[in-house]
Amino acid sequence: MLTLNEVWKSYRGVAAVRGLTLQAGPGNVVGLLGPNGSGKSTTVRMIVGLLRPTRGCISWDGIDIHEQLLAYQKVVGYIPEEPRLYMYLSAAEYLELVGGLRGIPREMLARRIDRYLQLFGLDTDRHAPLSAFSKGMRQKVLIAAALIHDPQLIVLDEPDSGLDVAATLILRSLVATLAARGKTIIYSSHILDAVERVCRDVIILRRGSAIASTSVSTLRQLTETASLEAAFTSVAVEQDVAALGRELADVSSR
């Protein structure tokens, strides 16, 4: 069980996340939604242990993750928003590095790498440097790296970024299957349709604070809207999007 209890994160006195509380248990997919700068990525980076909260506590199975960070990181799989990879390594080399650092025995690791590369259609490019990969291909490598050690908690930050339609559908199916197998999943995305389809609960962030934290269906009922997109627009979007669109179109034409 992942628990965030009144978590704050500040950079030089400016709060990026304000008093966030969240719970995610086995089999649960929790969606993180919010406009740019709402604190989604900071929250995700705190959950995976990259950042330490300024205040509050993040715990896994009741233990503060920073008390036993190494043990906690063994059960976490993370797909970052930006494809953070050593671009001079090949896909196989990168997965060998990650798997090796996670202590997976060599033969088992080789088998898993072969299988992932095959399933993602990357086996013909296995020796090409990652710098030669497209964004979608790199994203597939990151997904493989996040899952290679069979983690209990999977944190996905914009996982469908750069993926083609088929790969996006496969990802959704993968997330549903992992949740069905009892994994805890945090799914941060801008794509409301994806969140609506894969997440049971959703947290909407605005300026670092959670302005809604409930199930997708309850949120739709509360906002009296038909879709998550409409619900999100009613609670999180502060601008008049139609008017702003018109203004943008006018900038260069006048």
Partner: protein, 575 residues
Amino acid sequence: MIRRLLPARYRTEFDQFLLLCRGSVSRLLNAALPPRDGDSAQLALWALALVATPSAMYGFRQLVNYSSLGFQKAAIIEHAIQVDRMFFLLYGMVVAALVAAATWEALLPDRADQEIIGTLPVRPRTMAAARLGASLWLAVVAAAAISVPAAVFLAVAAPSHSSLGFPPVVLVAHLISTMGATLFMFILFLILRAALALCFGAHTSERLATGLQVLAIAALAELFFFIPGVIPLLVKHLSDGDRRVLFIPTMPYAALYAWLVGLRYPSLGIGAAMAPLALLGAFAIAVPLYLWPARRLARRALETQPRQHAGLVSVAARLAILALPSSPAVRSITSFTVTTMMRSRRHRLILAAYLGLALAVGTVSVIAGGLRGTLSFDRPETSLLALPLVTMFFLTLGLRTAFAIPSDVDANWVFRLSQPSVSAAIDAAAMSLIALCVLPVAALAGAAAVLLGWPMRDAMILAIFDIACGCALTEWVLGGWRAVPFTCALSGDVDSLKSRWLWRVVPLLLFAFVNAAAQKAAFPTDRAAAWYVGAAVGVWSAARVKRRFAGRDVSVEFDASPSDSIATLDLSEAL
């Protein structure tokens, strides 16, 4: 083997250390030699061969020289050995500085490393230890590359005179002393890197890389021009038993070699003992300096927000460019060029390399003037006037070279779509050269003249002279240029590597030294000064008109042709 000796709880960490060491070597090589298309390991082999060549050639020369010394007195031989020794030691230390400067940003795990590895169950100290291990391994390889060939040559030459030492001892002594000195200097840089990161943070530390590279390259060039005059003096102090010289970093290693091959100077034992102690001491400082703050540095790398603002110089340069009376396209390209140059470390390092050469050549001219007794700092002398001209010459050539290396080829679609004219691209390149190379050097030259006590009139005339001839220089440097800077790799530059470098020696002599003599002649009267400036502006204007005329019917180039690049190299011609 080591793994088995470790307690069980450290074995996982040891496995991670080995894995990360391997990855760190690639990371260091990529930082030093960012590959454009090829493999950085292959580039590293070429770089290794390049740094190994001078010491190997010097060793081979000694093989020839020593074989003709069979009848010489022992004292003369011993002196010769030590003079040669100092060359190898100094060269090894300068190479260590170069390796440190080239790999500077990757010597410690940075934000990117923390982002990738920080989510895995790896202790920050393991990552830092792996980076330290990989850095040292790289230094050992570089040290071996510059030591082994020369050691073999010297060992082969040893039987020609009894004072040269017993061949196997010569071989081992050369390896120990040269590799020890190289590693000692490299570890000093590791200490400096870790201490700076700890005290001042990543940004300051990164800025220092450029300065370090300038100094290392200047020192490397000076080694061949200037150091040979100093070495015999140091050797004399060593043979006289002067303990003070043992505090010069090379001297304990020179003493160690002398002691190992059986020379018996006074105080040699102390010097010989200092060498391994210094190496061990440096290592003993570097290890805790890497491991102890690893967690803190990791957290700081992750929590520090990327720079939110452009540098002051960058903003000032952009504002100055926007105020220039030129077309929007020229202003935009100039602004892009200046900003890229300010922010791209790879391009800054290229310019730093040329600046290092400029400093070395310029200093030699000043030292030569001093040795001839013709140098006086209180009035315009040819050797002093040549200094800014040499700097300007190398900087403009360096920037021209950097222009040809793309910052991000995939991003050049902006220029491809807008298709600026060739004259706009060249005008922008020329303005960038003036903004980055001519004006700063001229301003510094003027300020230095004031500080040296020259009359204000002379200082101003010097700055105007340098600006006038610097502008003319930019037109010569941009001969044949047909691209927007940093957007295209030009095949012509490959050709220039092979065929043009010798031709640049003559222009250097003309522009820097003959021109400095002309400036000196023009200094005394305002009329002569006006003639000089008029002539320089005339040359500049004529070159601009010629260039515009030549560029009328051509379009901007964005793609180098790989087949042309290979053909123009044509290495077989050199055989």
